[in-house]
């Protein structure tokens, strides 16, 4: 017999995950950020400074602890960037074009990626720009690590980065830290 064929079927999937408890490190980092301080860890072996701290140096593969904490200034250089037209998918909350920058923080060896720029028109964004953090008003900052971007940034106390007004950095100053 002939019947109307079935070509597609819907398979609705849903799993609820419990998020792991925040690590002591992320709690500490969030607390410091809420207080307006940017801290990281300095590897005791190679001396590289990681912000945010990961609790280990991925190059030396040794653990780092509060004993290795250092504070850095909330300013840095845009090492590279992209202008994003957000892809639309289920769960996406971004709709308008925006620039995302990778920033080398002063006094660190680590860049932070996927950072938002504040008050800089998209067409004016360039590499080498010197920027500083734009903070949420202190009263609105949360000392909870929840909602911190996954590994890329510095949580929500810093909403973006604005121009310091200083001349751009020469490429020699950041060329080794594109990523």
């Amino acid at each position: 017999m002939t019947r109307e064929p079935v070509q597609f079927m819907s398979h609705h999937t849903k799993v609820e995950y419990k998020l792991p408890a925040p690590s002591l490190l992320s709690i500490e980092s969030a607390k410091q950020l809420a207080a307006g301080r940017v801290v990281g860890h300095k590897c005791p072996e190679c001396g590289k400074v990681y912000v945010p701290a990961r609790g280990y140096c991925p190059l030396c593969v040794i653990e780092t602890t509060a004993a290795h904490e250092v504070e850095v200034q909330p300013r840095g250089i845009v090492t590279t960037f992209s202008v994003i037209t957000p892809l639309q998918y289920q769960g996406q909350e971004e709709h308008d074009d925006y620039a995302q920058a990778t920033i080398l923080l002063a006094g660190t060896d680590s860049t932070i990626s996927m950072q938002r720029l504040d008050g800089i028109p998209i067409d004016d964004v360039r590499t080498g720009m010197r920027v500083e953090a734009v903070w949420l008003p202190e009263s609105e900052r949360s000392a909870s690590p929840e909602g911190a971007a996954r590994g890329f940034g510095l949580g929500r106390a810093i909403t973006g980065w604005k121009l310091t007004g200083e001349p751009d950095a020469p490429v020699e100053e950041y060329g080794e830290h594109i990523l």
């Binding site: 070509q7 597609f8 398979h11 999937t13 590289k48 990681y50 991925p58 190059l59 590279t80 960037f81 992209s82 202008v83 994003i84 037209t85 957000p86 892809l87 639309q88 998918y89 289920q90 769960g91 996406q92 909350e93 971004e94 995302q100 990778t102 660190t108 060896d109 680590s110 860049t111 990626s113 996927m114 590499t127 971007a149 996954r150 080794e176 830290h177 594109i178 990523l179």
Partner: protein
Amino acid sequence: MAERCAVVGIGQTKLSKCRDDVSMAGMCREAAQRALDDAEMTWKHIDAVVIGTAPDIFEGVMMPEIYLADALGAAGKPIMRVHTAGSVGGSTAVVASHLVQSRVHERVLTLAFEKQSEGDTNFAFSSGRSGGVGAGGYFAPHIRAYIERSGAPDYVGPMVAVKDRLNALKNPYAHLQIPDISIEMVLESPMVWAPIHRLESCPTSDGAVAMVLTNEAGGRRAARPPAWVHGTAVRTELGWFPGRDPVNPRAGQDCSADVYQQAGITNPRLELDLAEIYVPFSWYEPMWMENLGFASEGEGWKLTESGATSMEGDIPVNCSGGVLSSNPIGASGMLRFAEAALQVRGLAGAHQIDGARRALGHAYGGAAQYFAMWVVGSQML
């Protein structure tokens, strides 16, 4: 001394936006059956199966070898699944070749697939969390850094986009078929992730590719000319660390040096007849030409600009149309490996490079941190 390995069967599906006529197993089966037919073998001849595919969330099937065992005739046999991000198709072929070279198995079916139309690639990349920028958003800054560093003219990327789409017109399996493609059309397409235009980026595709690999004796009595594996290599580096150079990653340099050394190649541009390289965004052609030693640092774009990488050039790259024309992610790496093998077998059809004797297949993945490569030749090394 390791056993030799020969590619004696290759099959792929039509690559397209949505293979709405088959199930996931049906799609894989189509490629696998074609590879068996090419090798003049049946399911009974196969000793083991190695599959590769990118993140399980793409299709919503965890560890798909479990469900695909039946379709790949694996009952009573070993089956395993490799996953090394975007390089997975290449890594999977490498693992399969090792099963032969180690003499653990004689005849191995290897297959890679992605059926992206089942789900949503960008949902999967971000695990459904907001703020996902897709692979293009991730790689755009690297591309910008390359352009700034090399001083490459801005038309080089669009040139690659045009060349690979023109090549795709000669490949009946290729997904994108854009006969009127031009630099103007590329430049007029939307700027999705500056500096990447829509037409400088790969599509999302459904598709599968399979190969039958066997040992020296099997290669000698193959039904059709075999491709002999002259070298395989994988390298991985951290995706992020202070001072990392993602534009010209050392893992890629080390991987190519290793595979060339195995194949006895000292000058890849002279000694290889063509390369199938993983280029999901146009600018990765000049970037990888440098990384793979075809050009010195900062000079890769001149190969594209001079036409050296076109089908008429001295080192044709991606005669199949490449990832820019078809991108079933998990399969894309193995497609590069298989297309390289098709060329040295003389079976590439309209996109065949006459007399191709040695070819490179290349795949990369993650944050440009996973690399897999092989060199194949028409003659036993």
